[in-house]
């Protein structure tokens, strides 16, 4: 940076004692201190999670990651079933949210007239601010009875799919948790994909139109491919959120740490298991095992988020990051 020399300052403001460096040491200390403290926080978080989980990894070995059952009463600690539960819940949530989110963002960005699209996207962004505990409360007290009485019996009756949707229908289930995650991540997906779609230059649309493309063909062949990496980033970041959501999932998944035999069965995710087990865990190995679950979750979400950030960067999507900070 330029501007360290203070000769000009002395010339312009002769009534003051000339300063060689127009910089106050206090400001430098505060600025560097804040950055240093932040670095210490990031490193401290990772180090404390890893070091506190080391006892569990020492006990069960690296196979903690994939094998065995979670049964604290018998002294069995392994995260495998919970990793499977987390992956299944997130996957089903994405199967629900990706088509709906993409359809909504294409509609808002390309199809709906502007006087309606503006308020619509603003309200979607407001809905992103709804706290996850409120979504969880609603899902537990309103949605879950509806699932138990109507939705899940109906799914059981489907001819082929009932291998996946096998009863009995309780209400709280892997499917309900996935639906909750889909509801919670929808605003994120829509807001980010809409930004990506809106970022496609008008010239590209006009070029496609000039070649005789219909409105839909412009969207399908020009706008969507151009916004592809932005949309991929939106979905990746939504996956990150879905993986890490714990409270709302803990309320509706039924908390049974075993591989669910169907989507209507209760299950557990890494996050929901941490919520339910941490307070009751026996000191020492028990606590360490719960923190080991947190370590796995941390690893998963960091991998997903770094992938998402790389996707955003590749498209020079600084604006996307800004929006993410605003809505996520």
């Amino acid at each position: 940076m330029t501007g360290e020399g203070g000769d000009g300052a002395a010339g312009l403001r002769p009534w003051r004692k000339p300063r060689r460096l127009p910089s106050s040491p206090l400001y430098a200390i505060v600025r560097w201190g804040a950055a240093g403290l932040f670095a210490a926080l990031v490193i401290g978080l990772i180090v404390s999670i890893v070091s506190q989980s080391s006892q569990a990894f020492a006990h069960s070995g690296i196979s903690f990651l994939w094998s065995g059952t979670w049964n604290p009463d018998a002294g069995d600690y392994a995260g495998g079933t919970l990793v499977v539960g987390t992956v299944i819940t997130t996957l089903v949530a994405m199967i629900i949210v990706v088509p709906i989110g993409l359809g909504t963002s294409v509609s808002v960005s390309e199809l709906i007239p502007r006087w309606l699209a503006g308020p619509l996207s603003t309200s979607i962004e407001f809905l992103a601010a709804v706290p996850s505990i409120v979504v969880g409360l609603w899902a537990l007290l309103v949605l879950s009875p509806v699932f138990a009485s109507d939705v899940e019996p109906a799914l059981e009756g489907l001819p082929v799919l009932n291998t996946v949707f096998r009863g009995p229908a309780y209400g709280p289930s892997v499917l309900l948790a996935s639906v909750v995650l889909a509801i919670m991540t929808l605003p994120t997906v829509v807001a980010l994909s809409r930004t990506a779609l809106g970022g496609v230059p008008i010239a590209e649309r006009e070029a496609a139109m000039a070649l005789g493309a219909t409105h839909w063909q412009v969207v399908r062949r020009t706008v969507l491919p151009a916004a592809r990496s932005g949309i991929a980033a939106a979905i990746t970041l939504a996956v990150g959120r879905a993986l890490g959501e714990s409270i709302a999932v803990a309320l509706v998944i039924g908390n049974r740490p075993a591989i669910p035999h169907s989507l209507l069965a209760p299950g557990a995710t890494l996050g929901s298991a941490i919520v339910n087990q941490f307070a009751e865990a026996s000191p020492g190995l028990g606590t360490s095992a719960v923190i080991a679950l947190a370590a796995i979750l941390l690893l998963l979400t960091i991998l997903v988020n770094v992938a998402g950030q790389l996707l955003v960067r590749r498209r020079g999507g600084r604006r996307l990051l800004g929006v993410r900070g605003a809505v996520a």
Partner: protein, 304 residues
């Protein structure tokens, strides 16, 4: 049908002995096939557009239903006493959520005290010192903003509750602050990016200190974005439950914990209280979001 001279000339040059009837026949053939094509493409497009448009109510319906349910069920619980009275044991009427409101306020105050100044200074650091260190800090902020809130709760538990052997709102505030910090850093940085570097250099060349330029040029220019970003981060922090789970002494001492606790209880009174608290929380978060956007809008107009 109007004649197309250029096609006529082209046809004449390729097939000079073709009669006018044949030319017209072929021209109509081309025209009809083009019409069929556009018709087909329009139909297919309309069908796909309809599919897209159907997803809008499909996606919005649960969110709208959720807000309506919270308002209608929460309104029944809400009255002045609910906000001003302390929670009562199950079966004793007249309980409120005053302790939870006060506790949440205290936690959020600690979080603001930690995150807002740090967020500003880190963003200023990123603004003034571009380079590998800034990139590393920025990367750290990106990683942190993706860390699940439950893990930040465990972190606060590990560095505070476990060390000092007691639950505390300070630990909860620390957790919330750590959660909000990366969001604030990125929002502040985005806002400061809109300030031209020329202005910063002009300030420095006038002999002002860095701190003075940061205050009078960078912060002033970035103010709408900074205020909006911080308020939105705050709105997110207020609604978080997971960081408080292992740090707050009792579920009656924070609104989100109170909801989490009461939601799972079989008593209608507890569920009613959960709905009432949810409504208070929702209103708070929405008000913060609205203020954030209004501030951005007003200040943007003023500085222009």
């Amino acid at each position: 049908m109007s004649t197309l001279p250029s096609i006529q000339v082209a046809l004449d040059s390729v097939m000079p002995d073709m009669g006018l009837a044949e030319v017209t026949r072929r021209r109509l053939l081309v025209r009809d096939s083009a019409r069929r094509s556009i018709g087909r493409r329009r139909m297919a497009g309309r069908a796909m557009q309809a599919v897209c448009l159907i997803t809008v109510p499909l996606g919005l319906a649960p969110l709208v239903a959720l807000v309506i349910a919270t308002v209608s069920k929460g309104a029944g619980a809400l009255n002045v006493g609910f906000l001003l009275h302390a929670p009562t044991p199950e079966g004793v009427p007249g309980g409120g959520i005053s302790t939870a409101i006060v506790g949440s306020g205290e936690i959020v105050t600690y979080a603001i005290a930690l995150a807002v100044p740090m967020g500003l200074f880190i963003a200023l650091f990123l603004f003034e010192r571009p380079g590998p260190i800034a990139s590393a800090v920025r990367f750290g902020a990106d990683v942190m903003s993706g860390v699940p809130s439950i893990i930040i709760g465990i972190f606060a538990y590990a560095i505070y509750v476990e060390r000092f052997h007691h639950f505390s709102n300070v630990a909860a505030g620390l957790a919330l602050g750590v959660l909000m910090l990366p969001i604030m850093v990125r929002a502040n940085e985005e806002a400061m990016r809109t300030v031209p570097v020329d202005l910063w250099e002009a300030g420095i060349s006038l002999g002002a200190r860095r701190s003075r330029v940061a205050r009078s040029v960078v912060l002033r220019g970035a103010l709408p974005g900074v205020v909006t970003g911080n308020l939105l981060a705050l709105a997110r922090g207020v609604g978080e439950t997971a960081p408080l789970l292992f740090t707050v002494a009792s579920p009656t001492l924070a609104m989100t914990l109170l909801i989490f606790n009461d939601a799972t209880q079989p008593f209608p009174d507890a569920q009613q209280a959960a709905w009432g608290t949810a409504l208070v929380l929702l209103a708070l978060v929405l008000i913060l979001s609205v203020i954030a956007r209004t501030v951005a809008w007003t200040l943007n107009r003023k500085t222009r």
